[in-house]
């Protein structure tokens, strides 16, 4: 089978790419291992909601049109949203088709699937940025009585054994799971490394509204001092709840969650924590302060001081005097560990020499380096700070399809608005 462009993955990013490919009259097919929005259907815990508000759910040619713009979609609503978008884009879709390998083939690519082989001039990888949960190697040292879960395996608190739970990692997944599990009567200890602290709302507006308005979300990958570092910044401590509550470490402490330092090893049935908790919290508090300063300056320079809420500053993160460095899992009643230690994309089926020594894809804003015609979308800070958000996909898709169109001799898509 032959086509100009194979798009791997039919989530919102693959569909946005398809939207622009169609606008440029570029012949293409979307290959999807499951159904549209597969990861949202199969790899998320039950209570999860988007951490972006509904008004921010916008993709090229389609946007949230419900009656709760300040709400947050649950997974059923996300799947419905993406299904509606798929009906609008109406791509040539090959569902339930797993890509087994992508190889170079002359000037183009051979895409081998479990349902046949495709030959394409160009390939766009839209397979998501969170395919494989990262779990530290010392997880293997956990004693046998401890059950461990990744966020992809976690479904709901009642599916966990009774008793104490150690949640490792305090980014978006970790703080959300910690709160839910602790609320179920299973006391949670939360191991905290580097994290990004954010209030849900600031001066009366959603914090992500400010990120949009101030231009922070539009900062480009080629205008950032250290893009490698920016791409590794963990997801902010946000939760999408109807009450628009803030879920920072102080909120968790108030609920009774115990904070400990970064988990650095397991030895003889004991978890070992770094003594750096105070430093990690101070770094996050200072970084939050700089973000709020940026917002306040923007408000001032735009003459909006009377039109939004008053300036706020949040109490420093409370850290107990001497957080424990060692936790005996048996004596501490810990029967479960949840590894909320991040995710990484899976490129294991990409048989093109474009991965660095750590297996990371080498690319320039999604244009894969050293392999013309190969593109990636949907990674953290791919082209802009907002790249990993649903509403950040559109601009990236337009840019990348523009580049791709030039390569195949097609007209680039018009930039919206």
């Amino acid at each position: 089978m032959r086509t100009t462009t194979v798009v791997v993955g039919a989530g919102h990013a693959g569909l946005a790419v398809s939207h622009y490919l169609t606008a440029s009259s570029i012949d293409h097919v979307l290959i999807e291992r499951g159904e549209v929005a597969n990861s949202w259907r199969t790899e998320r815990w039950e209570s999860l909601r988007l951490l972006t508000p509904n008004w921010q759910a916008r993709v090229p040619g389609f946007a949230y049109d419900g009656d709760d713009p300040d709400g947050f979609m649950d997974m059923t609503e996300v799947v419905t949203f993406i299904e509606r978008y798929a009906r609008l884009v109406a791509p040539s879709l090959q569902p339930h088709t797993t890509v087994e390998s992508v190889r170079r083939n002359g000037t183009g690519y051979q895409v081998v699937t479990d349902r046949g082989v495709w030959h394409a001039t160009t390939v766009v990888l839209a397979t998501g940025g969170c395919n494989i949960p990262k779990v530290p190697p010392f997880a293997a040292d956990l004693p046998g009585f401890v059950t461990s879960f990744t966020p992809m395996q976690y479904t709901k608190p009642s599916a966990l054994p009774d008793g104490g739970v150690l949640v490792v990692g305090a980014s978006a997944s970790g703080v959300q799971i910690a709160e839910e599990v602790h609320g179920s009567g299973r006391p949670v200890t939360l191991a905290v490394g580097e994290h990004v602290r954010m209030p849900r709302t600031y001066r009366g507006k959603d914090i992500l509204w400010w990120m949009d308005q101030t231009g922070l979300h539009d900062e480009r990958y080629d205008e950032i001092d250290d893009i490698g570092r920016a791409r590794r910044v963990p997801a902010p401590q946000l939760v999408g709840k109807p009450e628009r509550t803030t879920l920072d470490l102080n909120a968790l402490t108030d609920q009774g969650v115990r904070l400990v330092g970064r988990l650095v090893g397991i030895a003889d049935g004991k978890a070992l924590f770094s003594g750096s908790l105070r430093n990690k919290c101070t770094l996050a508090d200072l970084k939050l302060g700089r973000l709020l300063d940026t917002i306040d300056e923007w408000v001032g320079s735009n003459g909006l001081d009377g039109q939004v809420g008053p300036v706020q500053r949040f109490a420093p993160t409370r850290v107990e005097e001497s957080p424990p460095l060692v936790l005996d899992l048996a004596k501490g009643g810990i029967g479960t560990v949840i590894w909320a230690t991040g995710f990484e994309p899976d490129h294991s089926w990409l048989h093109v020499p474009v991965l660095d020594r750590k297996g990371r894809l080498c690319h320039d804003g999604g244009v894969v380096s050293g392999s013309p015609g190969l593109y990636r979308i949907g990674l953290n800070f791919l082209r802009r700070r907002k790249s990993s958000f649903i509403h950040g996909t559109g601009d990236d898709a337009c840019d990348l399809v523009g580049h791709l169109a030039a390569r195949v001799g097609a007209r680039p898509p018009d930039r919206p608005g």
Binding site: S274, T282, L283, E321, S322
Partner: protein
């Protein structure tokens, strides 16, 4: 607004060389593998002398400009001769030296002129641990506090950020806050 200083900050740290080295290591990560060494010889009682003569890094051996010597002893209250600082005090010295170097380097990189940087370090220890009197008391410090007094052309928040970033990039801070495998053999 008055302009206090137009000229770039000069703290005596060659930040450009450090940033170039970081870029070069991206190409040749092997060169980043260093081995630091010290030798130590018992003198008498709890008194000993250590020497630092050279190190391995960037793929080869490097001698220091001269051999540096360090003596250590235990204090009179331990019924020792107090000929030199205790080993744990030398650890505090190492932490403060590392953090101060970091403050200077970060300040240089952020174009902040330092005028004075002073640190006071305190380490708490319950000697029931090292005496084996109570197995629930650890041998090492139960806590370390460092207080910085910094005079610089910067806001209090910027100075706070210098000190926070210095901890983030400090080898000795990492050594003290994270468990490390230590192997001791008899030759």
């Amino acid at each position: 607004m008055t302009t206090t200083s137009e000229k770039p900050a000069e703290n005596g740290v060659n930040v450009e060389a450090l940033l170039n080295a970081r870029d070069a290591l991206g190409e040749t990560p092997e060169a980043g593998k260093f081995m630091w060494r010290a030798t130590n010889e018992w003198l008498h009682g709890t008194h000993s002398r250590s020497s630092v003569t050279g190190y391995f890094g960037l793929g080869e051996e490097h001698p220091h400009k001269s051999t540096f010597g360090f003596e250590s002893d235990h204090p009179l209250v331990f019924a020792a001769e107090d000929n030199a600082a205790t080993p744990v005090e030398i650890v505090l010295v190492g932490l403060a030296s590392c953090l101060t170097a970091g403050v200077a380097a970060v300040a240089q990189n952020r174009d902040i002129q330092l005028r004075s940087v002073k640190a006071t370090v305190e380490g708490d220890m319950d000697i029931q641990g090292i005496l084996g009197a109570d197995p629930d008391v650890r041998n090492g410090f139960s806590g370390i506090r460092v207080k910085y007094d910094i005079d610089a052309d910067a806001t209090p928040d910027e100075i706070e950020a210098l000190v926070a970033q210095s901890q983030k990039r400090s080898a000795v801070f990492d050594i003290l806050t994270n468990p490390t495998n230590v192997t001791v053999v008899v030759g």
